[in-house]
């Protein structure tokens, strides 16, 4: 159903990808860990490698959890519900991460 309005009602998304240049918004959700009240939202370059993403975004956030240990906690990953096995140099884009994608991890 369309908006009922007094004139033409057409506006661009206020969060469309082009507003972020070569970057995009990426959501990161540690499923099943309620220590984090909600999934996180990051602005990350599409070409960012998985390693850089983990070192620069995942680990600093997850380190707020005193039970997390970057060296020993292992996860299984999905991108938008599709299982992935990310390798170190692979870019987020190559992994199938799009604008506002949801990267989910579950502690093994």
């Amino acid at each position: 159903m369309a908006v009922r309005s007094i004139g033409e009602y057409k506006f661009p998304s206020r969060s469309r990808q082009e507003l972020y240049g070569d970057d995009q918004l990426v959501h990161l959700w540690w499923k099943g860990n309620l220590w984090f009240c909600a999934a996180a939202c990051f602005r990350a370059p599409k070409a960012m490698s998985w390693n850089d993403f983990v070192a620069g975004m995942v680990n600093p956030l997850f380190s707020c959890d005193p039970d997390f240990d970057a060296a020993t906690t292992t996860f299984t990953w999905t991108v938008d519900d599709k299982p992935v096995s990310p390798a170190g140099d692979e870019s987020l884009e190559a992994l199938g991460v799009g604008h506002k994608s949801l990267i989910t991890c579950v502690a093994a």
Binding site: W29, K31, L34, A38, C41, C64, P66
Partner: protein
């Protein structure tokens, strides 16, 4: 010349309200009232609008002036007598900061839009009712500001509420709610604000703040509450009259009104998430739990009382209401847990609930608190014991519609965050619930424009890329935000009370001197 005849109330009402209307001769009705047809609502006879109060402008002004006089007398004596020292605890004021930042600007917005209705509704009856409500809302905004301004002299977090309403992340929840309503047509606004906000949900919004004030020594806010109460009951009656009027005018209006009830119940309910945590966590002396308030004011009074009446018109209880009912066991805990970890960026402070408070929570929520939330608070306490304080190191994913961080859990599974997504014109949008997703899918063109605070920060529109940049842009000052323990407000409070107890021990002046 004979003395003028004194008119009865009914005659005065007719003379001062409906008799001041006239038939248009220079322009046709559609030109004079161009906004009452595009929503699809059919009105055949505007004179059928019933005015339950039969208020006239002279009587209205007289009542309001009397109420103002009483309120301002209380405010003066409270200020002169250092009444703020009688509060249960300065942390109580977090509830009032949230009220001033979140609700007072809505009163002003309501004032503006009811003024618009007072011009643009076709009938003189509803126009006059809207005019009174418009003035009420302005008076509420002003008296709330004056009531709470006394605290601004002594406490943090009261200085930039209006600036913050337009900028701070959690305040985008009430702001976007009202923006959604005022950008709708006049009839949808009447359902959104007049009916859903002022009737369906008002006892869950307004009463908890005012009862919280009375339980926690905040005489000014309590007096404001009394001063606004008679206005609020008039607004409730107006909201109910608005919906009945629309439903009685044409059967084609029923499905349109039903969809608005469905939308605005869920929009309002999501806004009340902020009130739920206030009741259960922010008040040092508790009034009632969110669960209890929801059962009494919503399930009993609305689902049990109002909706059976509306069934006569073919109206059913709001869509997704079953999710709201199921959530009453978990809602406030999830929301405060979120505010706890993000209060570094809020205009109020948070802390781990005390032992007594946790005991009360466990009693109120025997199914959920000890099992799901106490372990989290124990872990947060351990962080504090080790010299730290848990704050979320990042920004949260937000719901595109309600703009609350996506903290709510799946219906029936309180351990899994609810994630919903819809693709519209090639872009993905995220939602916290079936309710918000449904609202988006009804009118995606409206919600793609949402000013989501997290996305705006990432676009560089909020003062700069770092947290301190954003906090400066929010005009947060040290002590406004973060942890309660050790906050400047707590320190000052302890110092004041140390002084006043010393004074109490000093010899009292002899009576009669």
């Amino acid at each position: 010349m004979a003395a003028p005849r004194k008119l009865s109330m009914k005659q005065r009402y007719a003379a001062l309200t409906r008799d001041l209307d006239w038939d248009l001769s220079y322009v046709d009705e559609d030109t004079a009232y161009p906004y009452t047809s595009f929503e699809g609502i059919k009105i055949h006879d505007w004179s059928k609008w019933e005015d339950p109060f039969r208020l006239t402008i002279d009587a209205y002004m007289k009542y309001q002036a009397e109420k103002d006089k009483r309120l301002y007398a209380v405010l003066d004596s409270f200020a002169q007598g250092q009444g703020h020292l009688q509060l249960t605890d300065p942390s109580y004021l977090n509830a009032m900061k949230l009220f001033l930042q979140g609700v007072t600007p809505l009163e002003y917005q309501a004032h503006r839009n009811f003024a618009y209705l007072a011009r643009f509704l076709n009938g003189p009856g509803p126009r006059f009712a809207a005019l009174c409500q418009s003035q009420d809302e302005l008076r509420h905004a002003q008296t709330e500001i004056h009531t709470l301004s006394n605290y601004n002299k002594y406490y943090q977090g009261f200085h930039s509420w209006n600036h913050q309403h337009d900028r701070v992340w959690y305040l985008s929840v009430p702001k976007s709610y009202f923006d959604d309503a005022v950008t709708a047509g006049p009839f949808e606004f009447l359902i959104a604000i007049g009916f859903s906000f002022e009737y369906l949900l008002t006892n869950l919004l307004f009463v908890p703040f005012m009862s919280g004030a009375s339980f926690n020594g905040d005489l000014p806010t309590m007096t404001f509450g009394f001063s606004a109460q008679s206005d609020e009951s008039r607004h409730m009656t107006l909201g109910l009259e608005a919906i009945k009027f629309m439903l009685e005018q044409d059967p084609d209006n029923v499905p349109i009104v039903q969809a608005w009830i469905d939308k605005w119940f869920w929009r309002g309910y999501r806004l009340l998430a902020l009130v739920s945590q206030m009741l259960d966590y922010m008040l040092p002396r508790k009034v009632m739990s969110w669960k209890e308030a929801f059962e009494l004011y919503f399930e009993e009074q609305m689902l049990g009382g109002l909706f059976p009446d509306l069934a006569y018109y073919g109206i059913t209880p709001p869509r997704h209401v079953e999710h709201a009912i199921a959530e009453k066991e978990v809602l406030s805990h999830q929301v405060y847990w979120t505010l706890y970890q993000f209060s570094f960026a809020a205009g109020f402070t948070t802390t781990v609930p005390s032992e007594d408070a946790q005991k009360w929570l466990a009693e109120q929520y025997p199914q959920t608190f000890e099992k799901l939330y106490k372990p989290l608070w124990d872990k947060a306490s351990a962080v504090v014991d080790n010299g730290g304080r848990y704050f979320y190191q990042g920004l949260p994913q937000l719901c595109q519609v309600c703009q609350v961080p996506m903290l709510f859990t799946e219906p029936g599974d309180p351990t899994t965050i609810c994630q919903r997504h819809t693709e519209f014109e090639g872009e993905r949008y995220d939602f916290c619930s079936d309710g918000c997703q449904w609202i988006f899918e009804r009118e995606p063109e409206k919600y793609v424009q949402a000013w989501l605070p997290v996305h705006q920060i990432y676009q560089g529109n909020c003062g700069g890329p770092t947290v301190p940049d954003v906090l400066a842009w929010y005009k947060l000052q040290p002590g406004d935000n973060g942890e309660i323990a050790g906050n400047v407000e707590q320190t000052a409070w302890e110092a004041w009370h140390a002084t006043s107890s010393a004074e109490e021990q000093a010899p009292a002046p002899v009576a009669g001197n």
